[in-house]
Amino acid sequence: MATITTSDVRLHTLPPAAGRAGLRGALASEFTKLRSVRSTYWALGALLIVSIGVGALVMGGESGSLTHNPGNKAGFDGTQVSLIPFFEIGQLIIGVLGALTITSEYSTGMIRTSLTAMPRRGVVYAAKAIVFTCVTLVFSLITSFVAFFVGQAMVASTGVGASLFGTVKIPANAIFNGPGSPGSPPKVTLQGIDVISASTVLRAVVGTALFVTLVALIAFSLGAIIRHTAGAIATVIGLMFIIPVVIQTLPDNWRWDITRFFPDAAGRVISVTVPGGGDPHLWSSWPQMIVTACYAVGLLAIGAYMFRKRDA
């Protein structure tokens, strides 16, 4: 099989190949797929701009509020506030990319071409998941660190900004002593000290990036299960945003028992750095992250099963 002489062009003979097509080729292919469509750049660009930009705006507002009302300094969690846009909006943006990574193959019909080229579906699915997870993790970490540093720069003058390089002490409580003279802040007495170590801040910054990556994997898996872009994204929104709101409407003693079993809870714990700043009805950071990870791994496995089992 050397020449195809339908035109003046001749194809060169292919070098013989040993072994068999496997994960290595599939990884290269999936990376090419991800980097060769615009939606990837839109999503990652939006992730960076929204998380860092909105984070800076929020922290700019906080800076003003901390200056005008020093009472707000008590228990101020600069790390968490700077990361809120990232883990609230950013998780949704990266979730859209996660769903699209799989659903766009079905909506365009590309899946049939992909699986004809590489019919071992487990390999294709694993390659997709690995490439997407790596890209997401890298961009989430970059976003998280940049959002943190930009955010802290915005509140640097207030003295309660968080640091990754040393321990920061902030006032624990503020006692209100009545309004100040017109045009000046209310009179407050700041009491107690909360000590925030650099390692706690690092856990929050890295952990939030991990949380967003897990949410992206949940979206990816739902994409594999549902196979429709809109359906998968709607389900992610339902799971991460609607269900938590619905739970809020339940009687307290019920919701206190169940909120910790939902995947969104980790986001509200992992980003907390101030002692006692979290939700007392949730587990601590890492156990709560394991809950989210269980959703991701479970859905990833269901997605793998369905990706292999169903007709393409």
Partner: protein
């Protein structure tokens, strides 16, 4: 060599392919023929492992498709030219396919050159015409220099130039000793390309034979005669043992006699002839005859005529 044994595929209650058995020999073009909805695409999807057969087996060179070491080096298949991500450039589309089978990167440029898409290699395939998409799809099938090529309705919607290009390509590929398996619902298309035919209808095998067997097996030749003395001539023909049917337009369709015999007969009877033509049953007619009972979706138009012989001969 593709072997299909007892292939059955159901979608819900509907049986798309029903106990289909055939094999495809290397070095020739095998036409896969059947009306729309006959199960051609389903059969091809099962061969490629895209759909899982309900029953039966499918093997390419003795192995199931997913077990091939480098599938693209064995089989190049194009089921749907539009089954690409339109946002990806032609070059990147081919690159991501080539990478799965560890094919060299320069191969992408070569196949693009071969199908004449080099100039638009960097363009997103969203804007491609059907003809260009078809060429891109074919470029993909040739990436791995495969021994077996499969095309599903490759000329559908193409202009005459594109059809000619694909027809020549398929012939050239078969001439190089490759197995070419191509489906169509147009008999007239196969007439020019296929050596062997597999005809299915409603998921069942109707015929598996060479092209010449297929033609010979059809109802055969007749002779059309036009004459001012039709009644007299019909009597003479009947007397000679031929069968003659007078058509609406006054011409006579004769079976069982050759043009020579009819010409001599007319001469001896002193009958003037205005026309004496051999009418060979076209492949299209033979195909229609064979599949008439297995057309899945038939439009019953009141007053509609029997399909004329020109149906489907758009080439």
């Amino acid at each position: 060599m593709i072997e299909v044994r007892g292939l059955t595929k159901r979608y819900g209650a509907k049986t798309a392919v029903d106990d289909l058995t055939f094999s495809i020999e290397p070095g020739k073009v095998t036409g896969f023929l059947g009306p729309n909805g006959a199960g051609k695409t389903t059969t091809m999807r099962c061969i490629l492992g895209l759909d899982y057969p309900g029953e039966g087996t499918v093997a390419v060179d003795g192995k199931s498709y997913p077990d091939l070491a480098y599938p693209m080096r064995e089989v190049g298949a194009l089921l749907d030219a539009k089954a690409v991500h339109g946002g990806r450039s032609a070059r990147n589309h081919l690159l991501c396919l080539a990478q799965t089978n560890s094919l060299p990167k320069r191969r992408v440029a070569e196949v693009l050159e071969l199908v004449g898409l080099t100039e638009v290699a960097g363009k997103r395939s969203k804007g491609f015409s059907l003809g260009m998409s078809q060429r891109l799809g074919i470029a993909g099938t040739l990436l791995g220099d495969p021994k077996v090529l499969m095309f599903d309705e490759p000329v559908n919607g193409l202009d005459p130039e594109g059809i000619l290009w694909i027809r020549n390509l398929m012939r050239a590929l078969a001439a190089e000793g490759r197995t070419v398996f191509v489906s169509s619902h147009l008999m007239s298309e196969m007439e020019h390309t296929a050596d062997h035919l597999i005809v299915i209808g409603r998921g069942k095998l109707i015929a598996d034979c060479t092209m010449s067997e297929f033609i010979a097996g059809s109802s055969g030749a007749s002779v059309r005669v036009r004459t001012p003395s039709a009644e007299e001539f019909v009597r003479a023909i009947t007397a000679q043992g031929g069968t003659a049917v007078t058509d609406e337009d006054g011409s006579i369709e004769v079976r069982g006699m050759t043009t020579e015999q009819l010409g001599d007969l007319a001469f001896s009877e002193g009958i003037r002839l205005h026309e004496l033509t051999t009418v060979r049953a076209s492949l299209e007619e033979a195909f229609m005859e064979l599949t008439a009972s297995s057309v899945e979706y038939r439009a019953d138009v009141p007053g509609a005529q029997q399909p004329s012989t020109t149906i489907g001969s758009g080439v």
